[in-house]
């Protein structure tokens, strides 16, 4: 790992990942998945606006999906527990590289890792910020990917969300 400081966009994957990782912890997951990337990205008001939903709504939607899945296999509502308390994510050093992020002790799922790596390549071409590009990449996923399931459960209009993100870039 290189120790010398790097300019943006290197710090962007790191802070995005920390937000997503805390959401994974809160939910009781042992890996950071694409659905947690969405939760993390929803902390950015501009991105929440593009998706047309807020963080708490998305958290609740995931809990409701768990509830339905458990009910479908015959495990009733009596089996539930509160989310795990989390600290408000603390933004870390801007010198950390994407590699360090992906090696963090709560690992990313293969799909989340791919989405982050692809987005990090794509921003050189697309001129989106890393969080915007990551949201665009995640919006392309199809069920049974958990992010795609969440997007569907929230009733997000994917093409409208993409358009709003493009307007955002034009305005920047």
């Amino acid at each position: 790992m290189t120790k010398h400081s790097k300019p943006a966009p290197w710090y962007l994957p790191w802070s995005t990942y920390i937000d997503a990782r805390e959401e994974a912890r809160r939910r009781g997951d042992r890996k950071v998945g694409t659905e947690h990337l969405i939760l993390g990205l929803l902390r950015e008001p501009v991105l929440a606006q593009a998706l047309g939903c807020d963080l708490q709504t998305a958290r609740d939607a995931l809990d409701a999906m768990d509830h339905d899945a458990l009910a479908a296999v015959g495990i009733g509502a009596a089996f539930s527990a509160p989310p795990i308390p989390i600290d408000e994510p603390i933004k870390r050093s801007s010198t950390s590289t994407l590699k360090a992020v992906l090696r963090d002790h709560l690992r990313a799922t293969p799909a989340a890792k791919t989405a982050m790596e692809e987005s990090n390549k794509e921003i050189r071409r697309s001129h989106h910020t890393f969080p915007q590009q990551l949201l665009l990449t995640v919006l392309e996923l199809e069920p049974p990917d958990p992010a795609a399931e969440l997007i569907a459960a929230l009733g997000v209009d994917r093409s409208a969300a993409r358009q709003r993100l493009d307007v955002e870039r034009a305005a920047a």
Partner: protein, 70 residues
Amino acid sequence: MNAEDIASAIASSDPSLGLRAALALHRLAERVEADHVARARQQGWSWQQIGDALGVTRQSVHAKYGKRLP
């Protein structure tokens, strides 16, 4: 509901729901663990005692919860 009923309900279900349910059970277990580790600390349990109860070392339980719990 006993374990056999749960197993047969899971076996007969649609895989997309069944697989999601399997992960939901992991999440449920993690939430119950975190909740009760916090209670144990409030009641004065040592990290060693919590580790023994969970079948892990005191170091690993402290690494997981020590930052957030006294």
